[in-house]
């Protein structure tokens, strides 16, 4: 089972190493991890998707992470009403104008953006939930995908209360 975890941590060197090191030491699998600035300059938000057998397993790793000195707050977003987004960029080879037209079409159906066009390739960008990204990639697989880069999901809870006050 995959869980989306939000971690608020002091914005200090080594924080990400501490967090990821701990998760792997405790034999949990990190599916994705990303981090970025927040509304508070001293705080980094780390978004992780971990694979755990069940909630008990998950809570163990949350308890361990809560012990990390730089960690301010950890919330299991999966159990809350939340909005979840990921961004993907896909570079597809185009060898004919027919293919290019196809891809532009697909992109518009998915409300994706064409963010770069070359003589022999286009780059499509899509933001959305993971199944939507999967569906796009599935479609594009009919063509020749040259490379994919994705951010890993980030999530915010719904409602007025931010994670830091939970």
């Amino acid at each position: 089972m995959k869980y989306q975890i939000a971690i608020l941590a002091e914005n200090k060197p080594g924080v990400l190493t501490h967090v990821s090191g701990l998760i792997s030491r405790r034999a949990f699998n990190i599916e994705t991890i990303n981090a970025g600035y927040t509304e508070d300059a001293d705080v980094t938000r780390i978004n992780i998707v971990v694979d755990a057998n069940d909630e008990t397993e998950l809570n163990k790793v949350i308890h361990q992470m809560a012990k990390l000195i730089d960690v301010i707050k950890i919330v299991n977003i999966s159990e809350l009403a939340s909005i979840n987004r990921e961004l993907v960029m896909v570079k597809v080879k185009v060898t004919s104008s027919a293919i290019r037209a196809d891809i532009v079409n697909i992109a518009s159906i998915f409300r994706a953006h064409i963010v770069d066009v070359g003589h022999e390739n286009v780059v499509i960008e899509l933001t959305g939930e993971q199944d939507k990204l999967a569906a796009l990639i599935d479609m594009l697989n009919c063509y020749e995908i040259l490379e994919i880069a994705r951010t890993g999901p980030i999530a915010l809870s719904r409602g007025i209360i931010p994670v830091k006050n939970m």
């Binding site: 060197p13 080594g14 190493t17 501490h18 090191g21 701990l22 030491r25 008990t56 809570n59 163990k60 308890h63 361990q64 809560a66 012990k67 000195i69």
Partner: protein
């Protein structure tokens, strides 16, 4: 103020009076400052690992962070085993390592090692100092962290140039941290726990090292007495409960007392206090859990539900929690359970025949030191288990051993730190095997140089006894690398440091040697030359703690 002087001042501010360590280029400025300071005692070890174990021993004995300093590169890496040992047993420590100059960092400079990265998983926190003006703040924070909650080692890595920088010394606002008051949820849990205790028919307490670090021995005794609860202890919990108390069932675990393990196996409620359900304690978890209820009391919330799923978890200060749990009126209807426990006790009453074997040697030590002012420090191996089984301890901080990491070589350097802390209040009896003593035996130099009155007992079974035992049980008696065919003279070895030694070959000789060693207040070593044996009982860990291997 110069960086190194600020460090000294900060150490004093935290009541540090002793520092252990070993010099080298990158830490020399701090040595220079220490040398010029009169009030902090510096103990030079013979190896950085030993300096770390000595600081660890000092901390275990005093309850205050042990401080140890070393240079960058090999000095720092030599500390690693010592730091990991302290981490596994939750011992507060401050480790200061020198580092290459800031402008040489990241260039693979001479003796540059990323000790910050290396120690990340074996410290509570490690700091990599970058700016001089953070020095004092970071060091204070390090002390705070080492001491707070579940204690542990904290490392501060300091580039050499920072020792010379002019650093600010901000005023120290000693904030008395208020202990968190239990909230409503907590009180509900506590009330439920009391109900569980009163409802259970076969309750038992497992007391671990957390009781000792939490200074909760008195509360533990009162709590057990109030509800008439049997108490077993873990390897780390020895001394947390008086061994001659009528509620005491002894040491439980892989090599624990049969009756203690059987009692835990038969219990319907386990109240674990400051113990983490380590695998040496529980064996196979499914067998162990087997319909039991658990109340888990620990300072560290991450321990609750980590290894066993407890019915009720109470995370916080053990002293406070035990006080909370004593508010109910006791109803004592445990007579049946106690009948059963007494039956178990009778079944495995060990008979001390006075024969020349390690259990009888340990028993003699126990009888001799009894309730006197002694502390027992062991190394790791068979002798450690025999000591745990047969040497009775009555007070906290009179039993020291490497539990979580099981570090061979821990004993002698730890004994140094402990003896230095106890000065003349308690004399240290150190017990080692002939294997482990060759790992850190160079500390006899420190002991001799400082004339520390440690009595060192080396159990010479001409083997890595514990390894030989594992090969007997699990590898078809194929002894490999576990028997010392080549003989050496341990008495001459220890003697070469200038320490009186007794080479013992019989019980009578041992009795005489121990009594002589005790009669003089200086370093002594007794070499107990003895046959190879197996430590019994040994539980079949994969079956259940009440099943035992036959030898």
């Amino acid at each position: 103020m110069e960086g190194s002087a600020a460090i000294i001042k900060c150490l004093k501010e935290n009541n540090v009076d002793t520092v252990f360590g070993y010099p080298g280029g990158m830490i020399l400025p701090l040595f220079d400052a220490l040398g010029r300071d009169e009030s902090i005692k510096f103990i030079l070890s013979t190896h950085e690992q030993s300096a770390a174990h000595a600081a660890d021993g000092y901390a275990r004995a005093s309850g205050l962070p042990g401080v140890c300093i070393a240079t960058s590169g090999p000095g720092a890496t030599n500390l690693v085993t010592g730091i990991a040992t302290a981490f596994m047993d939750s011992v507060p420590m401050i480790i200061i390592t020198g580092q290459v100059d800031s402008d040489l960092l990241g260039k693979d400079s001479f003796q540059e090692t990323d000790i910050f990265g290396i120690t990340m998983p074996i410290t509570k926190y490690s700091f990599r100092l970058r700016k001089a003006d953070e020095l004092v703040v970071v060091l204070r924070k390090a002390f705070e962290l080492a001491n707070a909650g579940r204690k542990g080692p904290v490392l501060v890595d300091i580039p050499k140039n920072l020792f010379f920088c002019d650093v600010p010394y901000p005023k120290y606002n000693l904030q008395k941290r208020e202990t968190d008051r239990p909230d409503a949820d907590f009180l509900i849990c506590a009330a439920e726990a009391q109900k569980k205790i009163l409802q259970s028919h076969k309750p038992i307490i497992i007391a671990g090292g957390g009781v000792i670090f939490g200074q909760a021995s008195d509360e533990l005794r009162k709590f057990a007495e109030k509800y008439n609860l049997p108490v077993v202890v873990t390897l780390m919990g020895i001394g947390s409960f008086p061994a001659d108390h009528e509620l005491y069932m002894g040491f439980a675990g892989l090599h624990g007392r049969k009756s203690a393990n059987c009692a835990v196996a038969e219990a319907d409620l386990v109240i674990a206090i400051g113990s983490r359900f380590g695998d040496r304690q529980t064996g196979n978890i499914t067998e162990y859990v087997n319909d039991k209820h658990f109340i888990h009391i620990d300072i560290d919330p991450a321990e609750i539900d980590k290894n066993v799923h407890s019915s009720i978890g109470l995370a916080g200060d053990i002293k406070i929690i035990l006080a909370l749990l004593m508010q109910q009126k006791a109803v004592d209807d445990l007579a049946k359970w106690w009948n059963r426990l007494n039956e178990l006790r009778k079944e495995d009453d060990f008979e001390y025949t006075g024969a020349y074997d390690v259990p009888n040697v340990m028993h003699h030590i126990s009888q001799t030191i009894n309730r006197g002012d002694y502390a027992v420090v062991t190394d790791v191996g068979q002798h450690q288990m025999w000591a745990a089984q047969h040497i009775e301890r009555f007070k906290p901080r009179t039993w020291f051993t490497s539990g979580g990491l099981g570090t061979m070589g821990f004993g002698l350097p730890a004994a140094v730190g402990i003896q230095i802390y106890y000065k003349h209040d308690r004399r240290v009896i150190h017990i080692a095997g002939d294997g482990g003593i060759k790992m850190t035996g160079s500390e006899y130099y420190t002991i001799a140089a400082l004339n520390l009155p440690i009595i060192s007992v080396i159990i010479n079974n001409e083997s890595l006894g514990m390894i030989r035992q594992l090969q007997k049980v699990f590898y078809g008696t194929r002894y490999f690398s576990s028997e010392f065919k080549y003989r050496m003279n341990y008495a001459e070895y220890v003697n070469s440091f200038g320490i009186d030694t007794y080479d013992v070959h019989s019980m009578d000789e041992f009795v005489e040697a121990l009594s002589n060693a005790i009669s003089e207040n200086r370093p002594k070593a007794i070499i107990v030359n003895i046959d190879k044996e197996f430590v019994e009982p040994m539980t079949k860990m994969d079956c259940g703690i009440n099943t035992f291997i036959k030898f």
